[in-house]
């Protein structure tokens, strides 16, 4: 997805979080897992922006197709396409501030809920995306937040107070993160 930007402010809906934090926009780890109808590890195999007609005129959307390597929650698919508002077609660009941008080859853990076809199919707009990177020093696959922040544990998900440049002594690796998602999903299912 090219030239997309998104300007989104997430709501301060929880009393406790509002009261105890300077700013809480992102969903917590519990909320991410609970709100997602599907959580998977996907690799971008195609992305295409196109014009669409709507009741309010024309818009540009970008379809991103993921090859699914592993499903943690929800139905099993080999491949899945998600539609994001915004993109570039020819000389025209529709930029939605904060919208995640994907490129062919990207690998991410995605928390998806596209019920009703919202402007972003990810839970928490951009917060439902976790980047998978290979740490150059350790050689391990690690997860980062959508904007590249390292995580020491899933408890840090949704914490916007950590400085961008800070690097925890230990970074959560991919398998640990996925195990935590699976355990949380099972626990939530049991309590349903």
């Amino acid at each position: 997805m090219r030239r997309l930007s998104v300007c989104v402010l997430a709501a301060l809906l929880g009393l406790s979080r509002t009261a105890t934090s300077t700013s809480v926009v992102a969903p917590t780890f519990d909320e991410l897992v609970a709100r997602a109808e599907s959580v998977f590890v996907g690799r971008v195999v195609a992305e295409r922006s196109l014009w669409v007609d709507s009741r309010a005129g024309r818009a540009i959307v970008t379809d991103v197709t993921f090859a699914i390597e592993r499903t943690i929650k929800g139905p099993l698919y080999a491949e899945r396409s998600l539609e994001f508002l915004g993109g570039t077609v020819g000389d025209d660009t529709l930029r939605v501030s904060g919208m995640p941008e994907f490129h062919v080859g990207d690998r991410d853990v995605l928390f998806v809920n596209d019920s009703g076809r919202p402007v972003s199919p990810l839970v928490g707009f951009m917060y439902g995306r976790f980047r998978i990177l290979r740490d150059a020093r350790s050689g391990r696959e690690v997860v980062r937040t959508h904007d590249g922040r390292p995580l020491a544990s899933v408890d840090e998900v949704g914490n916007r107070n950590a400085p961008a440049a800070s690097a925890p002594a230990r970074t959560l690796n991919l398998d640990e993160f996925l195990d935590a998602v699976a355990a949380k999903a099972r626990a939530q299912e049991r309590n349903r």
Partner: protein, 372 residues
């Protein structure tokens, strides 16, 4: 590095990245003139901050931006009856249960959609989530009640062409950060960003020549982290043997970044080299040479960056009499990949993504696109 020179460089790096120019710009901007915003927010009871209506609060937010910029100015159409539509060339500001038929998604309180053609902005709409509870107030956030004014300030910043600094590796106090906080007014960083696009009041030409420059470079600790990862990649991944250098990693990254900062802010190769060498000799950091043009930031030819690196080596070896140390990264790889890392950073990529984008190139894959 000499202590004085290092302090000088650190001050520049810190100022450029953290406090002076943490702002991040979109690649498009409005043409000079006025931006007519059609306020279609409906009626309201008297609001907590004394505003008579949502429209009055929105006008106040627009005026806040207008006070700092010169080449464009917001104008308002109160209680506008203009058609609400995406891509119709009309700038709509309104409450809605959805965004032109698409749900907001849980937790989203406002969205701006920004249209451009060949990097010239043509339309921006701001849609506030009508499902939520709103007021217009100052200070600490109230549980469950959104502050219309600060959200409007943020969204109108996007309308001007400002992105989220905190999602691009910057750590600054800014209304343009991606999250709502107790901050309820524009900060100096927000104002600097707007002025980088449209000039300051009283200087219609705009630009900030002589200062830290209009292009924001990453914090020094992140650049140094990249340099350390590059060393590991060459040593452990590419199995490169050690070569000799008189420039330690820290001096290498600080001064190379400083050279690049001068280059993208309109200094010639010779001027940039001269300015960096003066700092190594202990002089205060000279100003940059001009404002970078809007759009994607362009870097100098690699042969010039390599020439700088060669001169830096000579400076450390012959001028500072530094003893040689070993590195697995040859001078050419050093300057090429450092420049590539910085190119991603100043074009909207965060630290981790920039490192990844460089690493895949070292592994022989095509260069991923920049982030804006």
């Amino acid at each position: 590095m000499t202590r004085r020179a290092l302090v000088s460089a650190l001050l520049v790096a810190t100022a450029a990245a953290a406090s002076v120019s943490g702002f991040v710009l979109f690649s498009d901007q409005w043409p000079n003139g006025t931006i007519a915003m059609n306020l279609q927010l409906g009626s309201s009871p008297r609001l907590a901050d004394g505003s008579d209506s949502w429209g009055a609060s929105a006008e106040s937010a627009l005026a806040g931006w207008n006070r700092s910029i010169s080449r464009v100015q917001f104008t308002v159409v109160r209680d506008s009856a203009a058609p609400k539509g995406d891509g119709n060339g009309v700038n709509n500001v309104f409450f809605s249960n959805d965004i032109y038929g698409k749900p907001f998604g849980q937790g989203v309180i406002a969205v701006s959609t920004n249209w451009s053609r060949r990097s010239v902005r043509t339309e921006s709409d701001v849609v506030f989530n009508a499902v939520l509870t709103w007021d217009s107030y100052n200070g600490t956030l109230r549980p469950g009640v959104q502050d219309f004014h600060r959200v409007a300030l943020h969204e109108f910043g996007h309308v001007l062409g400002l992105d989220h600094p905190d999602e691009n590796g910057q750590a600054v106090s800014a209304i343009m950060n991606s999250h709502v906080s107790s901050l309820d007014q524009l900060t100096s960083d927000d104002v600097s960003g707007a002025q980088a696009l449209y000039g300051a009041v009283g200087s219609p030409g705009g630009g900030t020549s002589g200062g830290a420059g209009t292009v924001s470079f990453p914090p020094r600790n992140e650049s140094l982290d990249f340099r350390i990862q590059l060393e590991a990649k060459y040593r452990d991944g590419l199995r490169r043997g050690p070569t000799s250098t008189s420039v330690d990693n820290e001096g290498d990254i600080v001064w190379t970044q400083e050279y690049e900062r001068y280059r993208v802010n309109q200094c010639s190769h010779a001027d940039a080299v001269s300015r960096v060498m003066a700092q190594i000799d202990g002089a205060a950091a000279p100003g940059v040479c001009g404002a970078a043009p809007p759009g994607q930031v362009r870097f100098p030819p690699r042969n010039e960056a390599l020439d700088f690196r060669t001169q830096l080596e000579a400076k450390y070896r012959d001028g500072l009499k530094r003893a040689p140390s070993s590195t697995s990264v040859d001078a050419e790889g050093d300057v090429v990949w450092t420049q590539e890392y910085l190119r991603y950073r100043v074009n909207g990529c965060g630290h981790a993504l920039a490192v990844q984008n460089v690493t895949v190139q070292i592994d022989g894959l095509p260069a991923p696109p920049v982030c804006r």
